[in-house]
């Protein structure tokens, strides 16, 4: 019995870890890799996205409504509770980049955070993160004769693990919460209206399903994670994706135990784009994680960079998620071209980081 177990044990101890290691990152032979010889591997896939959209007319001036919506704790889902609103780091007062921790309850309470991005006088975008991974509220305001027409759009990623929970609880949960929130917004600026009656009389937004496109570039680098981290901080490394820094705080050195919430403006082929840096997260072992949201041409993208030690080197994974824009506005051809070049850009960024990390002493 013991004799027959020995070969199995040997196989388990010696071969299985090696097998899993090579399956896990999609490449074999890292041990033999020489600097510069590994190629960037690009994967593309989609994840499920849910959305809701509705337009309501609010009896207010554009400025009044804009100011009101810029502080999201003024208006929330019925079961959402904002704890506090505070200015972002690097800002003296509440404004673009305002960071608001809040809690929402759906059976259990989820702590999360919201960032406010004011693009211009007619657009307020509120980005929520952590739960779920990708969630965005967008307000677009248009002055009309009887007030302001406010279009509210929300999109959120539904991770696989959460799909069943959503369905089991109430598949229309978020849609109904959004209907109610919009009714309360109308009633807030027009006391003659009653939110219950408004919901009953036809605030029924359009819920829809969509997908997020994901591009993932992965490469093994013959350098330690710290060296890769330095290469990522090089302004040229991410410029294929993010453009050139026009100002802001993206290049600021971040303390390890701290998350920095800030906005920077980048110049991407003549287009000004806003990027939020979610900083470095060392909470998952030796993983290094940056998060950016890019907003350009009404396009939301999210870049996550993960470095993890792998066989005397580092595995670098750049993941770019972008939401299919939900309209074909003027300029959409330019946007389409911008999106179409993303796979090429993400590969280029990964190559630059690899080259820089491996060439630095």
């Amino acid at each position: 019995m013991r004799k027959s177990l020995c070969p199995l044990l040997l196989i388990s101890v010696v071969f299985l870890p090696a097998l899993f290691a090579s399956v896990g990152d999609g490449r074999a032979g890292d041990m033999m890799a020489k600097p510069g010889t590994d190629k960037v591997v690009l994967k593309s896939y989609t994840v499920s996205l849910k959305g809701y959209q509705q337009t309501v007319t609010v009896n207010a001036t554009e400025k009044k409504l804009f100011d009101f919506l810029s502080r999201p704790n003024n208006l929330t889902y019925p079961n959402m509770n904002f704890k506090e609103a505070r200015p972002a780091l690097g800002h003296d007062e509440f404004g673009p980049g305002g960071s608001i921790p809040y809690v929402y309850k759906m059976v259990v309470a989820f702590p999360t955070r919201m960032i406010v991005l004011k693009l211009d006088q007619q657009k307020v975008w509120q980005i929520q993160y952590d739960n779920p991974d990708y969630k965005l509220w967008r307000w677009e305001l248009e002055p009309v004769s009887d007030g302001v027409r406010a279009t509210f759009k929300t999109t959120y990623e539904v991770p696989d693990w959460a799909e069943l929970a959503y369905l089991a609880l109430n598949p229309k949960y978020w849609d109904k919460s959004s209907d109610r929130m919009l009714a309360e917004l109308q009633a807030r600026f027009d006391p003659s209206e009653d939110p219950d009656k408004l919901v009953a009389k036809g605030i029924r937004g359009e819920g829809y399903q969509s997908v997020i496109q994901v591009y993932e570039a992965s490469v093994w680098i013959d350098a330690r994670p710290k060296e890769v981290e330095r290469a990522i901080a090089d302004p040229n490394a991410l410029s294929p994706l993010l453009g050139q820094d026009r100002g802001g705080c993206l290049s600021r050195t971040l303390p390890q135990d701290r998350v920095l919430y800030c906005l920077a403006t980048m110049d991407h082929e003549g287009q000004a784009i806003t990027i939020e840096n979610f900083g470095i997260d060392h909470s998952h072992g030796l993983k290094l994680r940056y998060r950016f949201y890019q907003i350009a041409l009404d396009l939301v993208g999210k870049l996550e960079i993960v470095c993890r030690p792998q066989r005397r080197g580092t595995r670098l994974v750049l993941t770019w998620k972008w939401e299919m824009p939900d309209s074909l506005a003027p300029g959409s051809v330019e946007r389409a071209i911008f999106i179409a070049r993303l796979p090429e850009r993400i590969q280029e960024a990964a190559s630059r980081i690899k080259q820089k990390a491996e060439s630095d002493p």
Partner: protein, 300 residues
């Protein structure tokens, strides 16, 4: 004789009071969009009787107010132009016959409803197929994409016609938007042109830009019969002529008034206007036949 005079006088009074009332046929426009105004123009030209015209001006408040009012006045027939007006009819006017047009979402809005006639927001698929071949004479492999649930497509008829035209048609009838990325990716290497039918759920405003992006990335032109995609990302399109949409709506309204709704569940198509997008063509390094450029509407 006296009796006759009294009856005559009474009739005149009654007729007079009837003509003072609002007409019982209502045309409702969703907004001040110029295209919707052209549809209304076509309707005015062709509808033989009196009708009342209301513009919701894109306002949800006005939608509710008009809905409440029409719910009380119970019109004999309502012609709705655009999705917002269609929503109003669905929410407030149960059992009132409806003719809808220029409303890409209305197939979903009125799902399961009776007494509804649709003037399609796209031109006739057979006309689209012919236009596609005329615009892209060298492109023989066509990938057709549509949502199974709402698109009214006779795929057998289209397949047969395309075979006779010497085209290889690959039909992609999708159940959900989530099938789109995979199917599109599979097809981009196998077809020369992407043909898209817009519907409320799958090939809809939430996915058409994705189709455009993937097609442009693969160097493929998109063809469609819808005005929104036609003006933005498609290389060529055959959207319905808005005046003819109004004319068709008037014809269908008249038929309903005369005989009751007879074409329930089927779409009526207006004639198409060929539109060529030279901006997209330039990106794809395409050129259009010179004779078509003279006839078509050109987007620069």
């Amino acid at each position: 004789m006296k009796k006759l005079a009294v009856i005559l006088a009474l009739s005149i009074v009654l007729l007079g009071s009837a003509s003072d009332e609002s007409p019982n046929i209502v045309l409702v426009l969703s907004s001040n969009n110029p295209r919707l105004a052209m549809v209304a123009g076509g309707f005015r030209q062709s509808f033989p009787g009196a009708f009342r015209e209301i513009n919701l001006e894109g306002s949800d408040k006005k939608l509710r107010d008009v809905g409440e009012e029409l719910k009380t006045s119970k019109p004999e027939l309502v012609v709705v132009v655009g999705d917002q007006a269609a929503q109003m009819a669905k929410w407030y006017l149960e059992n009132v016959p409806v003719v809808y047009c220029e409303a890409p979402l209305a197939a979903k809005t009125f799902q399961g409803s009776t007494n509804v006639v649709a003037i399609s927001h796209q031109s006739d698929p057979m006309d689209q197929l012919k236009a596609l071949q005329a615009v892209f004479p060298d492109k023989k492999r066509v990938g057709l994409f549509y949502g199974k649930k709402y698109a009214r497509i006779d795929s057998e008829k289209i397949s047969k016609e395309s075979r006779q035209m010497g085209l290889t048609l690959r039909i992609n009838a999708l159940n959900s938007i989530e099938e789109l990325p995979t199917r599109l990716k599979e097809q981009t290497s196998e077809v020369d042109v992407i043909w898209v039918m817009i519907d409320p759920e799958v090939l809809c405003r939430f996915s058409i830009e994705y189709v455009v992006v993937q097609a442009i990335s693969a160097g493929l032109p998109v063809f469609c019969g819808d005005v929104v995609l036609g003006e933005s990302g498609a290389a060529a399109s055959l959207p319905p002529n808005p005046v003819d949409v109004g004319v068709k709506a008037a014809t269908e309204a008249k038929k309903i008034l005369d005989k009751g709704p007879t074409r329930n569940g089927t779409a009526v198509y207006a004639k198409g206007d060929l539109t060529l997008n030279k901006r997209v063509a330039k990106i794809l390094n395409l050129s259009f036949p010179a004779n078509l450029e003279k006839e078509a509407r050109i987007i620069h």
